[in-house]
Structure formats: C-alpha cells, structure tokens
C-alpha cells in the first residue's frame, strides 16, 4: 500500500495525486493486487451512466459511489414512493415525493463527496438516449420495462458503448455485460414482449434483497470493466433463483442475424416501443 508522509502531502501517481484521505478511503481496493493504485485511478477517471434510480440503480449507485467512480450520471423521471423503500435502498422515508435523481444524488454525495453526479430528471427515450449515453464510458441498465431495455441496448450498440443488463422478477435475477462485438440483448430476445405479456416487478412483486443481489453484480461488473479484472459476463447470461440459491451462466452467442448488431442490421434508428398502461400510470 502506498505510504503518505504528512497530512498535507499527496501521494503522487502517474496521473492522479491521491490525497491521504483518498489513500485511506480506497485502501481496501489499493491493497488488492488486481486493483492497486493504477486500478483505483481508472475507477476515479470513469464516467458511468445509471439508467433508473430504483431497485437496481440504488445498489449500483451506492457501490459505485463508495468505489470512487469519477462521474455518475443518473436518469430517472420518477419521484420516490413509499412502496419503493422496500428495496430501493438509496431512498429514505424522508425522501417520499422527492425526485429520485435528487434523492440519489444526496446519498452519493454523502457517501463520497469526490464523486461528481449528473442528474437527468427525465425519461430516457429515442430523442435523448444517444445524446446522454455518448457522455459516458459505461452504462448500467437498472430499468423495469422492456421498451427502455431495448432502447438502452440499441443506443449502446449504435454508440459502441459497453453496458450491463439487469432484470429481476419475484425471486429471480438475470444479468449480462455487453461489449461491442459481443452478444447484445436483441441477440437473446429479438424484440420486446407484447404489452402486458410479461409481468413487471410492479405487477408480480419482487423480494427486495433480490434487487441488491443483482445490482451488486452489476456494480462489480462495472468495476471489473474499468480495472480490466477477470472475465466479464460477456456472451454469458447469468441467472439465479434465490429460492434455491442456484446460480447459472448460460453461454449465449452473438447472433449474426441480430437486427441491431448482426451482419446486416435492419434497425438504423432508435425505437420508442409502447409501454404497458399499468406502468405508464405510475409515472
């Protein structure tokens, strides 16, 4: 671990000067051979966009803030509701009625004042997705609805951005990481299910801790991406069932006939798919 001589002196690295406080704050990362000062520096230079400050976005944002991610962007057009608090651990009882992006920003700053937060109090749609995403190095999908999941997938593929996909329902979770050239969401699922065909958490329920399990996997993947540690969940779909605590990774291949990332893509613009009415009324 790097040594710091005096309180006012900084630990010099190739690019970032770590303050004594930062060396202490990130000491458990710096101790890791795979992270070290260099890895921590990469984390501190990183820009991550979290779409959705809900069940998944909450643990993702909390862990990325604690890890010292340089800039965290948060997109969410919703306000905190009492029914969110069972799993959206970044929001507190006092925040009911407050925009989720504001509530999340406050907690991120409280955990780690070094983190820059950029908030987007709006829905991600075809009109703003590419503009917002292009400002970031990595995108985390923490949304609950299929139209936006496909939008994030398509925008990231078009912009050549890596992203982490996350889905939860009842006692189950699934996640994979996309890098340009690896399997995308459309390789696995060609298009969104018909409106209302697949229940969302808002309709079918979810055990709160499942969101934490899945979100922390997404946060770990994000940190692995920036530090280059290990093997990302690319070309693999991780699924788990918390009832049995069985985890499984299913190999998935990039599909040559994929409409967005295949050899002859047929999608050349972003699509706003119709959302279930029961979801819309909650906005």
């Amino acid at each position: 671990m790097p040594k710091v001589k005096g309180k006012s002196e900084k630990f010099a690295t190739a690019m970032i000067d770590f303050t004594e406080e930062q060396v202490q704050r990130y000491s458990r990362h710096i101790l890791l051979q795979d992270v070290g000062v260099e890895g921590q520096e990469k984390i501190m230079n990183a820009r991550v966009l979290v779409v959705g400050a809900g069940g998944l976005g909450a643990p993702v944002s909390l862990y990325l803030a604690a890890a010292g991610i340089g800039t965290i962007g948060i997109v969410d057009a919703d306000v905190v509701d009492l029914s969110n608090l069972q799993r959206q651990v970044i929001h507190f009882t006092k925040d009911v009625g407050v925009p989720k992006v504001k509530s999340a920003e406050e907690k991120i700053k409280a955990i780690n004042p070094d983190v820059k937060v950029e908030t987007y109090y709006e829905f991600l749609d075809s009109s703003n997705a590419l503009d917002i995403i292009k400002e970031y190095d990595f995108v985390v999908d923490g949304t609950d609805n299929f139209p936006v999941k496909f939008l994030i997938n398509d925008a990231c593929v078009m912009a050549g951005k890596p992203f982490s996909h996350g889905g939860i329902l009842r006692f189950n979770g699934q996640t994979f990481t996309h890098l340009p050239g690896t399997a995308c969401y459309r390789c696995m699922f060609k298009e969104p299910p018909p409106v209302g065909a697949v229940p969302t958490c808002s309709q079918a329920g979810v055990l709160g801790a499942i969101a934490g399990m899945l979100g922390t996997i997404q946060a770990a993947e994000t940190l692995k991406y920036f530090t280059g540690i290990g093997e990302l969940l690319t070309n693999r779909l991780l699924t788990f069932d918390a009832k049995t605590m069985q985890f499984r990774t299913v190999p998935v291949k990039h599909r040559d006939t994929c409409a967005i990332c295949g050899t002859n893509p047929t999608i050349d613009h972003l699509i706003d798919y119709e959302q279930a009415a029961c979801d819309l009324k909650n906005h």
Binding site: V51, G52, A53, G54, G55, L56, G57, A58, D76, D78, D81, S83, N84, R87, Q88, D141, G142, T143, D144, N145, F146, K149, G166, G167, I168, L169, N172, G173, Q174, C187, M188, F189, K190, P193, A197, V198, P199, T200, C201, S202, V206, A211, L214, G215, L237, R248, V250, P251, V252, K253, R255, D279, N282
Partner: protein, 73 residues
C-alpha cells in the same frame, strides 16, 4: 429400460425420442412459450424451426426468459 437424456437449463431429464423443440416446450409446460428464447447446444433456435429441430441424446436445451427490473414501483 434406459431412457435417453437431454439437459434442460443444465439439469438432466429423461425423454422419449423422437422429440422436437415444440413438443419439449409443451411437455415441460413452459410458461408463456411465445415469450421464451430457446438455445439448443448453445445456438439460438429460431421459433419457426422449433417443429423441425429433432432433439438427440445429450442435447443441451436452454430457455431464456424475459425479466424486467428495478426502477418502477
């Protein structure tokens, strides 16, 4: 009599052959089959080919399901 085995989502299952993907989906009472993505031996099986893909001993079949997420109520 030893029944042939295939692997469904990683678990060995005894089946009677011949059996195609459509028939397997019916046998397993897969929920919302129109919503599921199917891989046979780690290759995606297009929906229109489900009837014609005959499963063999040792085949690996994976069902991928849609799953939403966390941000709405």
């Amino acid at each position: 009599m030893i029944m042939p085995k295939i692997y469904v989502n990683g678990d060995a299952q005894e089946v009677s052959l011949p059996l195609n993907v459509s028939e397997l989906i019916k046998q397993l009472l897969v929920e919302n089959p129109e919503m599921v993505s199917v891989q046979v031996n780690e290759e995606f099986a297009e929906r229109e080919d489900w009837e014609s893909i005959q499963l063999k001993e040792g085949d690996k079949v994976d069902f991928l399901y849609f799953m939403g997420g966390g941000c709405l109520r």
